[in-house]
C-alpha cells in the first residue's frame, strides 16, 4: 500500500516536470512566432521573461498550501492527489509503530496527517491551552476516504517542514477578573450575614 503511494507520488512529480517542459516548449514557439513583429534584440529578453514566468508558475502552483476548508469541501477533486498543507500541530503526536498521527490545525479545521515516525522528531511543541504548537508544512497524498484507515479523510505525508516553531504561552492573571471576583465575594459575605440577622431576631422572639 505504502509502496503504491510512493509510486503515485513519483508519478505526480514526473507529471509536474513534463507539464513544465511542455509549457517551456510552448513559450519558445510563441516567441519564435513573434519574429515577424519584433526585431531579434527585442525578442531575447521577451523570451527569457516569458519562460521565467512560465517556469516559476508551473513549479509554485503545486507547492501552494491548500486550506483545510478547500480540501474538505472539494474532497473528490483532490482525492489521491499530492497536496501541500500547513497548520499548527495540536494535541498529541500519536505514535503507531513506524508511523504517527499528527493533527494539523490551519485555523479553520483540523486534518489528520499520517506521517513516518522519523519525521515527527522535528515536532517539539504541540498546541494546547498553555502551548502554541509548531506550525509545519507537509507534502503528501490526500485521501477522501482512506481504505487503510477505515475511510478517514486524511493526508499521508512524505515530507515535513517546520515553518514557525511553537512556544509555551505565559498565562498572566487577568486583573479585571480578579477584581470582579473580589467584589462578588464581598457582596456574598454581606448577603450571607444579612440573611442570618433576621433569623437570629426571630429566634430571640
Amino acid at each position: 500500500m505504502i509502496k503504491n503511494q510512493k509510486l503515485k507520488y513519483r508519478a505526480d512529480s514526473v507529471e509536474r516536470i513534463v507539464f513544465s517542459f511542455l509549457l517551456f516548449l510552448s513559450a519558445i514557439r510563441s516567441t519564435l512566432s513573434a519574429k515577424q513583429c519584433y526585431p531579434l534584440n527585442a525578442k531575447i529578453p521577451f523570451f527569457l521573461l516569458l519562460s521565467f514566468f512560465i517556469f516559476h508558475f508551473s513549479l509554485t502552483c503545486f507547492a501552494q498550501p491548500i486550506s483545510s476548508t478547500e480540501l474538505i469541501n472539494k474532497a473528490k477533486q483532490y482525492d489521491g492527489k499530492t497536496v501541500v498543507y500547513e497548520g499548527e500541530v495540536i494535541g498529541d503526536v500519536m505514535k503507531r509503530g513506524d508511523y504517527a498521527w499528527v493533527n494539523l490545525n490551519d485555523d479553520k479545521n483540523v486534518l489528520g496527517v499520517w506521517i513516518p515516525r522519523d519525521l515527527t522528531k522535528e515536532i517539539l511543541f504541540t498546541g494546547n491551552y498553555k502551548t502554541k504548537g509548531d506550525w509545519i508544512e507537509i507534502t503528501g497524498i490526500f485521501q477522501r476516504a482512506c481504505n487503510q484507515h477505515g475511510g478517514d479523510l486524511d493526508i499521508h505525508a512524505q515530507t515535513i517542514k517546520k515553518i514557525t516553531p511553537g512556544r509555551p504561552l505565559q498565562e498572566k492573571l487577568n486583573p479585571a477578573k480578579r477584581d470582579f471576583a473580589f467584589i462578588l465575594l464581598v457582596i456574598l459575605i454581606i448577603l450571607f450575614f444579612a440573611c442570618r440577622l433576621p433569623l437570629n431576631v426571630n429566634r430571640k422572639r
Partner: protein, 500 residues
C-alpha cells in the same frame, strides 16, 4: 376562566429554583479543582466568579421566597422548565469568560446543548481551550443526562412529596425504586460505576494509541461523560476523528448503547435478571430500528461508492448511525461530508435514526422506541379488530419489565408526544429553510437539535443567524424535557397575563 397565579405560587417556585441553583453551585466547584490541578489561573477565576454569582442568586431566592409548602404538579413542572433555563445562563458564565465564544448567545447555545445532551457546538479554537473549561463542557452533559433536578434531588433536597413531580417534569416518568430519591441515587450509582470502568478503558486505549497518560485519562473521562449521557461533545475540534482509532470507536459504541438503555433495564441486569434484556420490548425494537435504518444508510452509501470496501462502509456507516440513533452525535466524518460525499438516501437513514432515539428513562432524546413499540402494538390491535369477528376479544400486551396490557391511555400519550416531536422537527426545518438553507440540510440539523443528537451537516457554526441559534436552543430545551413542563410554563405565563 383562567386563574391568575398567586404570590404563593411564585414563592414556592422561587424557593425550589433557589435550591436547584445552590445544587448547581456545587457542580461548578469541580472544574475549579481541575483548574487548580493544571495550574490554570484565569479559568479557575472564571469558575469562582460563576460560583459567586450562582450563590448570590440562590441565596436571594431562598431567602425571599422561603416557604415550607410542598410543590403541586403545576409548580413542579414550572420549576423544572425554569431551572433548565437558569442552568443554561449560569453555566454559560465561565465559558463566556474563557473568551472562546463569539457572543453570550453562542455560550448559551453551548450550555443548553450540553445540558440537553445534544452536542452541537459553537466554541472557537477548541484545541486551545483550558482543561477546566473543557471539563465543564463535558460535566454539564453528565449533569444534564442524569437530569439537573436529579442532581438536586440526590444531594440537596431531602425526601418530600414534590420530588416526584419534578422528576416527572424532567421527562422521567418511570420510577426504578419506590422512592424517587432512591431512584435518583441508583441512577448516579449506575452512572458512576460505568464512569470508572469507561474512563479506565478509554484511558488505557488512549495510552496504547500514543497519547500522553494525562491526556489519555482526561479525554477518557470527558468522552465517557459525553458518550454515556449521549451528549456528543469532545475535547478536540475534530470530534472522534482526532483519535484515528478503531478501538476507541468500538468502546464508544458500547458506551453509547449503554447510555441509550432504560435505567430500569440496567437495574434488572444489575440485580441478576439478565433475561429481561431479551424479553423487553425496547431491546427488540431498538435492534429492529437499528437494522432498518442502517440498511437504508448502507444502500445509500453503496450507491455513492465512497467506501468501496465493505468493512470501511460498515465502520463509517454504522458509527454515524449508532451515534445518531442513541442521540450521541459523535462523528468520524467531517460535517459537510454528509452533504458532499453521502447521498440523500444515506442521510435520510441517519435522519430516521436520529428521530427515533433510544429507550425511555435513559439519557437519550427524541421520540423513543417504547413509544414506537406502543404505537405499533395499537396499530396491530386495530387491524385485528377490523379483521377478526366482532365478538372476538382482542387483548394486546407487551413485555416491559413486567407484562403490560395495552390500554388507550398510554397509546394516547405515546401518540401525543410523537406528534409533538414531529412538529418540533418540522418547525426547525421551516426556520432553516426560511434562512435559506436547503430542505435536507435543514431537516437534518433540526432533527439533530430537537432529538438532542448533535450530528451536524455543517449548518451549526458561529456564522449561522441568531434566529436559528435561538430556534435550536428552544428545540434542544423542549426536546429534552419532552414538552409537558414547557407547555405548563407557557400556560402559567398566559395565566399571569390574561388570568383573573
Amino acid at each position: 376562566m383562567i386563574l391568575k397565579p398567586r404570590l404563593q405560587d411564585l414563592k414556592i417556585i422561587g424557593f425550589y429554583l433557589g435550591k436547584i441553583i445552590l445544587g448547581l453551585t456545587l457542580t461548578l466547584s469541580l472544574p475549579v479543582l481541575i483548574g487548580l490541578a493544571f495550574h490554570e489561573i484565569n479559568p479557575t477565576l472564571d469558575f469562582l466568579i460563576a460560583i459567586e454569582i450562582a450563590l448570590i442568586f440562590g441565596i436571594i431566592l431562598n431567602r425571599l421566597c422561603f416557604t415550607k409548602d410542598d410543590l403541586n404538579w403545576m409548580q413542579g413542572m414550572i420549576v423544572v422548565s425554569l431551572s433548565w433555563l437558569v442552568a443554561m445562563v449560569l453555566g454559560a458564565i465561565p465559558l463566556y469568560l474563557s473568551g472562546h465564544y463569539k457572543s453570550f448567545l453562542d455560550t448559551c447555545f453551548e450550555t443548553m446543548s450540553g445540558f440537553a445532551t445534544t452536542g452541537l457546538t459553537l466554541v472557537q479554537n477548541l484545541d486551545h481551550l483550558s482543561y477546566s473549561h473543557n471539563f465543564w463542557r463535558h460535566l454539564i452533559m453528565f449533569i444534564g443526562g442524569q437530569g439537573i433536578v436529579i442532581v438536586a434531588l440526590s444531594f440537596f433536597i431531602k425526601g418530600f412529596s414534590g420530588a416526584f413531580k419534578m422528576y416527572v417534569g424532567e421527562a422521567r416518568d418511570e420510577k426504578i425504586l419506590p422512592n424517587v430519591i432512591h431512584t435518583a441515587r441508583f441512577i448516579w450509582l449506575v452512572s458512576i460505576t460505568y464512569f470508572i470502568l469507561g474512563t479506565l478503558a478509554l484511558g488505557i486505549t488512549g495510552i496504547l494509541n500514543g497519547m500522553t497518560s494525562v491526556n489519555a485519562f482526561f479525554h477518557g473521562a470527558c468522552i465517557f461523560m459525553a458518550a454515556f449521557d449521549t451528549g456528543g461533545f469532545t475535547p478536540q475540534s475534530q470530534n472522534m476523528l482526532y483519535y484515528h482509532s478503531l478501538s476507541f470507536e468500538i468502546i464508544t459504541v458500547v458506551i453509547m448503547i449503554l447510555g441509550a438503555i432504560n435505567f430500569r433495564l440496567h437495574y434488572h441486569i444489575w440485580t441478576g435478571n439478565r433475561r429481561e434484556i431479551f424479553k423487553n420490548i425496547e431491546t427488540g425494537i431498538l435492534f429492529t430500528t437499528i437494522m432498518i435504518t442502517f440498511s437504508i444508510a448502507a444502500i445509500g452509501l453503496t450507491q455513492t461508492g465512497i467506501y468501496p470496501q465493505a468493512l470501511t462502509l460498515f465502520r463509517k456507516g454504522f458509527y454515524q448511525l449508532i451515534s445518531g440513533h442513541t442521540g450521541t452525535g459523535y462523528q468520524t466524518i467531517y460535517p459537510v461530508q454528509f452533504i458532499n460525499d453521502w447521498n440523500a438516501l444515506s442521510v435520510t437513514g441517519i435522519i430516521y435514526a436520529m428521530a427515533l432515539g433510544g429507550a425511555v428513562c435513559s439519557t437519550t432524546g427524541a421520540i423513543k422506541i417504547l413509544r414506537i413499540g406502543i404505537i405499533f402494538k395499537a396499530l396491530k390491535e386495530d387491524l385485528k379488530r377490523i379483521m377478526l369477528p366482532e365478538r372476538a376479544v382482542i387483548v394486546e400486551k407487551f413485555h416491559h419489565i413486567k407484562k403490560v396490557f395495552l390500554e388507550d391511555k398510554p397509546v394516547r400519550a405515546a401518540l401525543l408526544i410523537t406528534l409533538c416531536y414531529l412538529g418540533l422537527y418540522g418547525f426547525g426545518t421551516l426556520v432553516g429553510i426560511f434562512y435559506g438553507y436547503p430542505f435536507l440540510e435543514s431537516l437534518f440539523e433540526s432533527t439533530s437539535a430537537a432529538a438532542n443528537v448533535g450530528l451536524s451537516c455543517g449548518i451549526t457554526n458561529i456564522t449561522m443567524p441568531a434566529g436559528l441559534k435561538l430556534t435550536y436552543i428552544f428545540q434542544m430545551w423542549a426536546g429534552r424535557l419532552e414538552f409537558m413542563s414547557i407547555f405548563v410554563l407557557i400556560g402559567f405565563l398566559a395565566a399571569a397575563i390574561k388570568g383573573k
